[in-house]
């Protein structure tokens, strides 16, 4: 992407295998279009997402990071997303503390049946990231 082009935020989307990844599959099967900015990484559960992954993504130049999993109460591993929710709350606070706009990080609950919602979540997140411009604060020089 050259700098002259319109700014396109780069997003890493961590999806739990059981709900949100399946939901993204359904968005595909239903051919619902959404922006191509987010690259998905499927993990077993949102509970498996270390806060370090999010910081690492920002370090490596992400403009936004999304974590998406099963609805609260529906986690395939019973309470993984409760753990995740608590950890992600800390991430928000930490980002704010170090001066990164906390809305560069988002968490959503998308079930396997919610293809349209998945597309909407990505669309909204990308739209909300655009006015913030590139994320520079945490980006390490070697990754720019």
């Amino acid at each position: 992407m050259s700098e002259q082009q319109v700014y396109e935020p780069r997003v890493v989307a961590f999806l739990c295998k059981w709900c949100s990844s399946a939901g993204s599959d359904l968005a595909g099967v239903s051919r619902i279009q959404y922006p191509a900015n987010a690259t998905p990484i499927t993990v077993p559960c949102t509970g498996a997402i270390s806060p370090m992954y999010i910081m690492s993504a920002f370090n490596k130049g992400a403009d936004g990071v999304l974590v998406s999993g099963c609805h609260i109460g529906d986690c395939h591993y019973i309470e993984g997303n409760y753990l995740a929710r608590r950890k992600m709350q800390l991430i928000m606070e930490l980002l704010e503390f170090i001066g990164v706009e906390p809305n560069r990080f988002r968490m959503s609950w998308v079930s396997a049946a919610e293809g349209a919602k998945f597309a909407q979540v990505i669309t909204d997140f990308v739209n909300d990231l655009k006015p913030l411009g590139p994320q520079e604060k945490l980006k390490k020089a070697e990754h720019s």
């Binding site: 992407m1 780069r10 890493v12 059981w18 709900c19 399946a22 993204s24 599959d25 968005a27 595909g28 099967v29 051919r31 619902i32 279009q33 959404y34 922006p35 191509a36 690259t39 998905p40 990484i41 499927t42 993990v43 077993p44 559960c45 509970g47 498996a48 997402i49 270390s50 806060p51 370090m52 992954y53 690492s56 993504a57 490596k60 130049g61 992400a62 109460g73 529906d74 986690c75 395939h76 591993y77 019973i78 309470e79 993984g80 753990l83 995740a84 950890k87 079930s111 396997a112 049946a113 919610e114 597309a119 990754h143």
Partner: protein, 650 residues
């Protein structure tokens, strides 16, 4: 670790991928990866020649790892892992990069689609670099099954499984099995009596040596996984010993409590002690604790006094049982969309406006009116009845978007039954379309229209209200373009079928997915219609989608066959993607022990130890460990960091 030799196989999926992703470019970019020794693109990688070429390429190029960039892993992960095995390498060194569902199908800009496909593919190549060969874990199989829900679906599934020699626990929430079918009078398209076909099966369930029947019971908790589930169920007290109850009915005569009878859809009342239907199985009375005056001889105790069989026991207590089973069939059925949701049609407040099941009870010889169709308001025979189809169905703006599939048929049946009971009566049917696909179904509807001179009016009803002791129906006949006004003695609404309340509850307990309308979600809409997304849990009947009895029975049989096939294996293999501790890094802080939802970790000599039988591979431990000392195999922290890097490389 010596450098990997990875093969990357890029599928075009016809034009499904190739139209929005430059597949040649993806292959070229992957060829530039340090560990990639071979790349190939092909029009349909999953076709026979495609699969053969994967096997051949692994052998010819001495590949030790495989990445197939294609559709979702849910579709072909197993296909390509099997090919890895056939080519003589470990199947867990093969991974899928999903560039169809998560990429080509959702983007139309080819440059952007290609860029994203490259990132996805590269991230999976990096992941595979650190994949280790793993062996599936063999687990013993509990040769026992559970069926949840005792409608016709559950009954059929339980009988089929039990007849194959496998023990079955059948759990039903209500005081009797039979479900909705037991409430029906006669059934389309043959008009055979519903109870007459169902009752013998219910008795067979009760007597079957391989079936353990648990009525008035609810599943509360599920643990374990395919082949070895543990199900905790609560058996609610009925306060009547079914073995002693002689069905003499003396108790209901003395019980002072009168409440609406839900089994008769509130058309009649019952006592606190009652039997749902004469054909109930188990054949016993039940004491409804929620309305009884107090289960206490001092307060009332009348029923206990009159029971000569001494069947009533006020001291019965709820009982929790845990059943070990290898597979589960969920058959928890449907409810009707509540009339209260239909404000435009009176919201359930207009007398003599009934739902379809209430009409079934009026027609049924075992119902409150002994098979005479009488208006609830004044017990007179209605001389004209308006049936309205698609109530709450096919209305995405306000109600259910889907077609409930069976209402055209049962409305035609209702019109016929009505004419049989009231030959000089007149039936009107408001419809949008008639959908009568099914063997003998179209002929059945034609018979209703012709032989029984029922007037079919194409159009919606806009309003219902009470007028001079009748129900005034305002609608339009869209074929003639005229407004229609009918003063009906009775109106019957063919309300949408919705997943039962019990279905919603059980989906939460079992953690199985539901679709956008709340029905239980099948694992694949075409190829896995009776499997839930969770291995070992199968679906049957109207809990999965609206369906009639023949379809329900067919699906129940299919689910049973799957259960029998699963349980006929001596051992099952379980994915080995479970946690592993790097002892050198572990400080024994115990954070992971607390994070594990499955109590699979304990500390031993100051180091974390994972119980491989209990670990489900959720990864909560690895996200918690500050020293990266515990990881899920093949989804390690290091792998994720490298995937993140690949996703962000420009």
């Amino acid at each position: 670790m010596s450098k990997k030799r990875t093969g990357v196989f890029v599928c075009h999926c016809g034009t499904n991928i190739a139209a929005t992703v430059d597949v040649a470019k993806v292959a070229k970019e992957m060829a530039g990866e340090d560990t990639v020794a071979f790349t190939k693109e092909y029009v349909y990688m999953c076709s026979e020649p495609g699969q053969e070429s994967v096997v051949q390429a692994i052998k010819d190029n001495k590949l030790d790892s495989v990445v197939v960039t294609c559709c979702s892993p849910n579709l072909h992960e197993k296909t390509f892992r099997d090919n890895a095995t056939r080519a003589g390498i470990n199947n867990f060194t093969c991974e899928i990069a999903n560039i169809r569902e998560q990429c080509s199908w959702v983007h139309n800009d080819k440059a952007k689609g290609t860029e994203k496909a490259i990132k996805i593919s590269r991230s999976v190549v990096r992941r595979v670099n650190r994949n280790q060969p793993l062996d599936a874990i063999a687990v013993n199989v509990t040769r026992r099954a559970m069926v949840i829900g005792g409608g016709v679906a559950g009954i059929q599934a339980a009988l089929d499984i039990a007849n194959a020699g496998v023990e079955v626990v059948l759990v039903e929430k209500q005081a009797t099995i039979g479900g909705r079918m037991l409430q029906l009078s006669e059934t389309f398209p043959t008009l055979d009596c519903s109870q007459c076909v169902l009752s013998p099966k219910m008795v067979e369930v009760k007597r079957h040596p391989k079936i353990k029947l648990m009525t008035y019971s609810e599943v509360q908790e599920l643990t374990g996984s395919v082949g070895n589930f543990q199900v905790k169920a609560l058996k609610k007290p009925t306060f009547v010993d079914p073995d002693k109850c002689k069905l003499c009915d003396e108790c209901t005569a003395v019980c002072p409590v009168v409440v609406p009878n839900e089994y008769e859809l509130n058309l009649t009342a019952r006592r606190a002690i009652y039997i749902p239907y004469a054909q109930a199985i188990p054949a016993s009375f039940t004491l409804d604790e929620s309305v009884c005056l107090g289960l206490n001889p001092i307060v009332c105790g009348k029923c206990k006094d009159v029971c000569e069989a001494d069947a009533i026991n006020y001291d019965m207590r709820p009982e929790t049982v845990t059943e070990d089973v290898g597979a589960i069939v969920v058959a928890t059925g449907f409810d009707l969309y509540g009339q209260e949701n239909m404000g435009e049609l009176g919201g359930g407040k207009i007398e003599d406006v009934l739902d379809g099941l209430q009409f079934e009870r009026l027609c049924s010889a075992s119902g409150a009116t002994k098979g005479h169709i009488l208006r609830p308001s004044d017990h007179t025979e209605p001389k004209n009845v308006v049936f309205i189809q698609c109530v709450g169905s096919r209305d995405p703006a306000k109600h259910c978007a889907y077609c409930s599939k069976i209402c055209c048929m049962y409305t035609a049946k209702h019109a016929q039954l009505y004419k049989h009971h009231v030959p000089d009566g007149r039936a009107y049917v408001f419809y949008i379309d008639i959908r009568s696909g099914g063997k003998g179904y179209e002929e059945f509807v034609q018979r209703t229209m012709e032989d029984n001179d029922t007037l079919y009016l194409r159009g919606r009803v806009s309003r219902l209200y009470r007028h001079n002791g009748k129900v005034r129906v305002l609608g339009t006949d869209t074929l003639s373009g005229q407004n229609v006004e009918i003063d009906a003695d009775m109106v019957v609404l063919a309300l949408a079928m919705v997943p039962s309340k019990g279905t919603t509850e059980i989906a939460k307990v079992l953690k199985i997915g539901r679709d956008k309308d709340g029905f239980l979600a099948e694992a694949h809409p075409k190829l896995k219609p009776v499997e839930s997304v969770t291995a070992g849990i199968y679906l049957a009947g109207a809990a999965q989608a609206p369906k009639d009895i023949p379809e329900t029975v067919a699906q129940a049989g299919a689910a049973a066959a799957k259960v029998i096939a699963l349980l006929s294996q001596a051992t099952l293999s379980r994915p080995p993607l479970i946690a592993r501790v790097r002892r050198s890094h572990c400080t024994g802080c115990g954070m992971c022990v607390d994070a594990c939802p499955f109590i699979a970790i304990r500390l031993e000599n100051g180091k974390a130890v994972v119980n491989e039988a209990l670990c489900e591979g959720c990864g909560s431990c690895s996200a918690t460990c500050l020293r990266a000392a515990i990881d899920v195999k093949n989804v390690t922290q290091l792998q994720i960091y490298e995937m993140i890097e690949a996703c962000l490389a420009v």
